[in-house]
């Protein structure tokens, strides 16, 4: 087991290296010279050359990549070109709203998804199955930006239950923070619920046809204990995988939803940085999402080993 964990962690190194490579080259292909952006159009040529040299931008791309890589490994993403602060500090300040939205959406999504998926599998080919398939299909087919605006129109503009947009941190507003979180979190949860419900349904259908389920039935166990103790436990692998894989999709969704609801999180920051070509912030935002994806998938793989002894002893 220990060897397995060590092997999996070592495998992260080449992947993270390539992740960094992609993030660096995508952002360095951006049109527009960052030095000219900083100094403005009227800057003298000599001044530009001097600032370029002081930022190390006169070096070849590959030298810059390795310098940059050494820095980000130390947690130094450079300074934002607009916010006059180190990127790591900006990211740390912005992470809280995004984290709140993501956790709420995930909890919402997992609960609804598991429930819909289990119901569908147990009532296979009955009305409830059709109902749950339809809901989950809508979940993966509705554009999140459109759903966000519809929810905003109904619950904020018409009914006035929630603020139209904006955010107050927990320290100032206390529980009032949540009224800013509900609509964005629900928007993202709907899609997650759809994805999780689909996977739960097919994994449960797969499990329910096994012999041990029939044995459990003929032993006279209640449906409840068959479904939750036997079937669900044995269907967990693919369900956990889909949750792990899609958390990054959820984070990608925060880019859009935070922009719509004007919530000062990492997603809103990323979109603004892209519009302003604030390259260090873009790099940090992209790497942030990819890092979370990679770490979560490591955890998913390790949970395989935990849930399935066959993998552990390989």
């Amino acid at each position: 087991m220990r060897n397995y964990i060590i092997k999996r962690i070592l495998l992260l190194i080449p992947i993270l290296f390539i992740v960094a490579l992609i993030a660096f080259f995508i952002t360095n292909l951006m049109p527009g010279d960052p030095v000219r952006v900083i100094l403005g159009n009227m800057a003298a040529e000599a001044e530009i050359v001097r600032v370029k040299a002081s930022l190390g931008l006169d070096q070849p791309l590959i030298v810059r990549f390795f310098r940059w890589l050494v820095n980000i490994v130390r947690g130094n993403f450079g300074d934002s070109l607009y916010l006059n602060a180190p990127v790591s500090q900006v990211l740390a300040e912005r992470i809280r709203p995004t984290f709140l939205i993501a956790v709420f959406a995930e909890v919402f999504g997992i609960t609804a998804g598991l429930l819909l998926g289990i119901l569908a599998a147990v009532k296979h080919r009955k009305f409830l199955d059709q109902f749950s398939i339809t809901i989950s299909l809508f979940g993966i087919s509705i554009p999140s930006f459109w759903l966000a605006l519809i929810l905003m129109y109904i619950f904020s503009v018409r009914l006035g239950w929630f603020p139209v947009s904006g955010y107050e941190p927990f320290a100032e507003a206390g529980l009032g923070t949540f009224k800013y979180i509900v609509l964005p979190a629900f928007t993202l949860a709907f899609m997650q619920a759809g994805l999780i419900a689909r996977m739960t349904r097919s994994a449960m259908l797969d499990t329910l046809k096994h012999d041990y389920i029939r044995t459990a039935k003929s032993k006279g166990l209640s449906t409840y204990s068959i479904v939750f103790k036997h079937a669900l436990k044995n269907s967990m692998l693919p369900i956990i995988t889909v949750i792990g894989h899609n958390f990054a999709v959820l984070l990608g969704g925060t880019w859009i939803v935070e922009t719509i609801f004007v919530i000062p999180g990492t997603g809103f920051m990323a979109i603004n940085a892209i519009m302003r070509r604030d390259i260090p912030v873009i790099q940090a935002s992209i790497i942030f999402v990819a890092l979370i994806y990679v770490v979560l998938n490591l955890l998913v793989d390790l949970s395989y080993a935990f849930l399935n002894p066959k993998i552990r002893y390989q």
Binding site: P14, I15, L16, F17, I18, V19, L21, I22, I26, T27, L29, M30, P31, L137, F138, I140, S141, I142, P143, S144, F145, W146, L149, I150, M152, Y153, V157, S202, L205, D206, K209, A248, V249, L251, G252, G253, W255, I256, T259, I260, A270, I271, I274, M275, R277, I282, I286, V289, A290, Y293, V294
Partner: protein
Amino acid sequence: MLFLKKYKKYEHSYITTSIIILIILISLSLFAPLLTDYNPVRNNARNRLQPPSKEHLLGTDQYGRDIFTRILYGLRTSIEVGISVVILTVIFGGVVGIVAGYYPQIDKIIMRVLDAMMAFPGIIIAISLAAIWGAGKLNIILALSFAYFPKMARIIRSAVISIKDLDYVDSARAAGANDLRIIFKYILKNSASPIMVQATFNFALAILDEAALSFLGVGIMPPAPSLGAMVTDARTYMVVAPWMILAPGMMIILSVLSLNLLGDGMRDLLDPHLKNTLKK
């Protein structure tokens, strides 16, 4: 095709329903110029923000353009982007997947690169690339293809690996067939079903993501009609003209939903494992 032969034996209403909806949607977008007298981009200041009426079935937008006309042309854009992305992902994914699956010497390196690319959610790669290359139809087609092809490459790779050591491939090799012939004649032909299923899902995803990019202003640029950009306009006029937001959203949902339904139906149909489950 394998797919059509199986269809008769297995009555699956999803596929029929979704194909009918898709045919209707495609003809609506193809025959858009015949179906409406209005121009999708020309302004008409007198008709600004009209609610739905007999002349304008779905109302008009802030420039007085007919919304029904705009969603037909917007759908056209979505379908164009979707089909181009599907073709490009199959080509990119096919080349990379076949090389990785067929030549184990470089498989490990390719797989690590694909793993790393898949760490970025598609929409994030697409937004970043579209912002770099600039907005426009061609750029978002390339950006989305770049974002989706790693998954397609992995699917094709595993199909190639599962087929390439089967007896009939060995016998073709023994008969003197070269690599190219084996790849095209034996391997690709027999890995068509997972590719088709993934291509259908990619089509749906491309429509959704094109709309999202256009909504954010890095996709199709106005005044060209795009369903996503129509939602951006609708957002500004949400309080005074709520009808503007429903039509483009519904059109996106209808097309994405029917593609997902088709993908699901094809997967059930082509996956013998799952079929047994369903029959039981």
